[in-house]
């Protein structure tokens, strides 16, 4: 049993303690937005934040987040109250197959939380761990800059 805070709510997971956080979030708790792409910290599809830091939930044992704050794409925003990144994602029609996008958004959100005016190099550094097999990188870059501007002007 591991207790942690998921998207602001305390949850207790039954899963064996070395189960990756990814599968606890997806299959036990039932939040399906976070995806599985490689299981080896190589693709970023499973990116969530732990205490505000982006991590790969596919290689993070659930016991490692005991007592911590975990956030997933489901916490970011809603259609009626989108996060500025989500508004920019929609404006630029970023997703194609869409499978990588939750991870991209969680990585981008961590970037903007630390840096409200990221350069191309900053975006490269923060986002190169997230594979998009559909090649939406150009639109992701544009949308991050757009969202950063919205946040700066807020």
């Amino acid at each position: 049993m591991t207790t942690f805070v998921l998207n602001g709510k305390s949850v207790t997971a039954k899963a064996d303690k070395d189960t990756p956080l990814l599968w606890v979030i997806r299959d036990e708790i039932g939040l399906k937005g976070t995806k599985f792409g490689c299981g080896a910290a190589l693709c970023g599809a499973c990116t969530v934040q732990v205490n505000g830091q982006p991590i790969r939930s596919c290689i993070t044992a659930v016991s490692d987040v005991a007592g911590k704050q975990v956030t997933t794409v489901e916490s970011l925003g809603t259609p009626s109250k989108p996060h500025p990144l989500q508004a920019a994602w929609i404006k630029h029609d970023v997703p194609q197959c869409g499978y990588c996008q939750s991870g991209q958004l969680m990585a981008a959100q961590a970037l903007l939380a630390a840096n409200k005016n990221p350069s191309d190099k900053d975006i490269d550094a923060a986002m190169s761990g997230n594979i998009c097999r559909c090649g939406t990188y150009g639109r992701i870059r544009a949308a991050i800059k757009d969202a950063a501007e919205t946040i700066r002007n807020a």
């Binding site: 599968w23 299959d27 489901e74 997703p95 194609q96 090649g135 870059r141």
Partner: protein
């Protein structure tokens, strides 16, 4: 090769399963395929109107990122006169009516969705519109000509009714055979950049992919397959695996041994405790080198099939040429590696099967599982979720049959989920290829004769039973380039390497365009001419080719000098009825190729959603660039050596070039856009690398080793 040939061909080879369901079933699912509320009327197979005014438009093509979830409804909505923002979209169930006429089966692939649907879906929309008008005319006893259909309402003569109010009556109207279609100049939806209808769900994490499917009482399976593809289970010991927590059963299926548990993670962990003895079969002798040796052997001695009609007399022209230039090009195996690993959910109950998941081939999924389980295709209900990428991998049916067999064996709903390693080592790979080209040139270096020979593996033989020694139309793609050369001959040799091959985004355009466009550059270099001008001179009567070539060159600033340390390469192709040119600007840093900018000019005739056209070009370039400078699959002792994204490297954010796109506005019939750019980036980059370094690389990917 023409589309007609492909179609006839798939039909004649029996590629298409029999026993189709004709019934119209609206698939369910949150945020994916929508469920219409209220009583449902189906004026035809593409449009469902409920009496609560919910209008559902069906996409008979799977959404794998290419945008059909939006572009297919756009075609219907244009004629139906409904607001795209107010409709729902559903992915069609298997059904004969949803057959892709360009491929002869219900398949999403070959950049055919718009080409196949362009007339058909507009007609479907117009039919329903006319049926609604006819119903209103009858109800109000007024002439149909006095009524108009706009924004979901029929009105005229001071009366009006919503489509929903008229739906029941309309569905009883005869289906007009030749409904009146709009003139292209009156389009209000087609040709206008339109926001994708699936973007919100994919941005809020609510889109349902195959991996997200859940059924009550569902269990999870992880399948151990022979490390040598095609190997069979000799024996296995499941004692340890069965003793692991949560394990429900361990069952043998055709492809290996499946561990079934209450969670995915437990199934996967327990699978690591299996001991399986394999009969590896003939595949264990394969290596990339032995396979390429076999291709070379076949090229020298195999049966030669002719592509198209030879032009002029190549042998004589070669003899008379001032000089003969020869080159050969090879390409390695590639994996599809869509980001969502293979998965499917199956529920076997009382002789009936429910299948839910990501597939590009509904009819095949139904046919293959029916055969494997010994039931009728009608006993299978199939629902298609969003696909986390396809690229051709989800045309295959292996993982679907696995799910069905496991569900039947354990009598429970089962989700099969592969690991990335399973996916990388058990793909249907883009086959290796050898292309040999020779040209006779005159004293000025202009080609007077060209001989082209491609040797590779036929996917169609394996996947659709194409008879041996028959031309595989897919293998001829882009073999005949657009250039005007007085004497030409194009040949194909088909060689089965023994490793299963699959259709990989842009299929044989990749091999053939790489060879043709690299070779054209070699001829230009031999003639001491600019590669753009050299090509242009051979396109005098080819306006669509010449136009895109010029547009790309101009937009790239071809006549200007690139920044220091950079060079540009150009390439040109027609594929899927789309004419395209690319200019790549590259540098080499620490021995590695860096692509800074790609300029694309494309003429694909009438576009449906121009922003999706751009997205597909961007996507194809990134996908093709990986194969051009980074990834390949190699085989040793029958085992694929790459297992994950560390050894099969793909393009990431920091390597993604700036992409500039010029689109030709045209009313010509629509071309496909999901794939062609994939095939052109390789030669564009190779030609730029030659310009920069003087080194002609005749294979891809252009890695450090190739450049050393």
């Amino acid at each position: 090769m023409t589309k007609t040939n492909r179609r006839t061909f798939l039909k004649s080879t029996g590629a298409v399963g029999s026993g189709l369901m004709l019934g119209i079933v609206v698939p369910v699912g949150s945020n994916g395929p929508a469920q219409a509320a209220g009583t449902l009327y189906t004026p035809n197979a593409w449009v469902h109107i409920a009496d609560d005014n919910t209008i559902t438009l069906l996409s008979a093509r799977s959404e794998m990122g290419q945008g059909v979830y939006t572009s297919m409804p756009m075609l219907i909505a244009e004629e139906l006169n409904v607001d795209l923002k107010k409709i729902k979209v559903a992915i069609a169930p298997p059904g004969a009516v949803y057959t892709n006429a360009l491929l002869g089966a219900q398949i999403t692939g070959g950049s055919t969705s718009v080409r196949d649907g362009y007339d058909k879906l507009r007609i479907a929309g117009a039919q329903v519109r006319e049926m609604l008008v006819a119903a209103a005319a009858a109800r109000w006893n007024v002439p149909a000509s006095s009524l108009k259909a706009a924004d979901g309402v029929i009105s005229g003569n001071g009366k009006k009714a919503t489509y929903g109010e008229l739906a029941a009556d309309a569905s009883k109207q005869p289906v007009p055979e030749k409904p009146k279609l709009k003139d292209a100049k009156d389009f209000t939806i087609i040709g206008k950049s339109t926001k994708r209808l699936d973007t919100p769900a994919k941005t809020f994490g609510t889109a349902e992919f195959g991996i997200d499917v859940e059924l009550p009482g569902m269990v999870y399976a992880s399948v151990e397959q022979c490390p040598v593809i095609g190997g069979k289970v000799k024996s296995f010991d499941a004692a340890k695996a069965k003793a692991m927590p949560g394990v429900i059963d361990v069952v043998q299926i055709n492809d290996g041994v499946a561990v079934v548990a209450d969670t995915y993670w437990r199934a996967k962990t327990a699978r690591e405790q299996l001991t399986v003895e394999w009969d590896e079969g003939a595949g264990s002798a394969l290596s990339s080198k032995s396979m390429m040796d076999g291709i070379r052997q076949a090229a020298a001695t195999g049966k030669v099939l002719t592509i198209g009609k030879p032009v002029g007399n190549v042998a004589d022209a070669m003899k008379g040429a001032a000089k003969v230039i020869k080159a050969e090009y090879t390409l390695p195996l590639q994996a599809h590696a869509p980001l969502e690993p293979m998965n499917f959910t199956a529920d076997w109950k009382d002789g009936k099967l429910l299948l839910i998941g990501p597939t590009q081939f509904q009819q095949g999924a139904q046919g293959a599982t029916a055969a494997a389980l010994g039931i009728k295709p009608e006993d299978i209900t199939l629902k298609t979720t969003f696909l986390g990428g396809g690229f051709g991998r989800r045309l295959e049916l292996d993982f679907i049959v696995q799910a069905a067999q496991i569900s039947k064996a354990v009598g429970k709903p089962v989700k099969v989920l592969w690991t990335r390693e399973d996916d990388m080592t058990h793909d249907f790979y883009r086959p290796q290829a050898l292309n040999e080209i020779e040209a006779g040139v005159d004293a000025a270096g202009n080609p007077v004769a060209m001989k082209f020979k491609a040797t590779s593996q036929s996917v169609t033989q394996r996947a659709f039973g194409l008879p041996k020694d028959t031309l595989d139309p897919f293998m001829t793609e882009a073999a005949v380039a657009g250039y005007q050369i007085p004497n030409t001959q194009h040949d194909l040799v088909i060689n089965d390497t023994g490793l299963r091959a699959g259709y990989w985004r842009a299929v044989s355009h990749n091999m053939n365009a790489f060879a043709n466009e690299s070779f054209m550059d070699e001829l230009a270099a031999n003639a001491g001419k600019d590669p753009y001008q050299f090509r242009m001179a051979l396109l005098k009567d080819k306006p669509r080719f010449a136009n895109v070539l010029k547009l790309a060159a101009d937009a790239a600033g071809w006549s200007t000098k690139p920044a220091a340390g950079r060079a540009r390469g150009i390439a040109l192709m027609e594929g899927y009825d789309t004419y395209m040119a690319q200019v790549a600007e590259v540098s080499v840093v620490n021995g590695k190729v860096k692509v800074h900018r790609v300029v694309v000019a494309a003429d694909l005739g009438q576009m449906v959603n121009p922003d999706t056209v751009r997205a597909q070009i961007q996507s194809s370039i990134i996908f093709g660039l990986g194969a051009a400078v980074k990834s390949k699959i190699t085989v040793d002792k029958g085992r694929v050596q790459q297992r994950n994204f560390d050894s099969f490297e793909v393009v990431r954010m920091d390597e993604a070039p700036r992409i500039d796109i010029v689109l030709v506005q045209s009313k010509e019939k629509p071309g496909g856009i999901g794939e062609p750019a994939t095939a052109l980036i390789g030669p564009a980059v190779a030609n730029a690398v030659f310009k920069l370094t003087g080194k002609r690389v005749r294979t891809l990917p252009i890695t450090k080793e190739e450049l050393a």
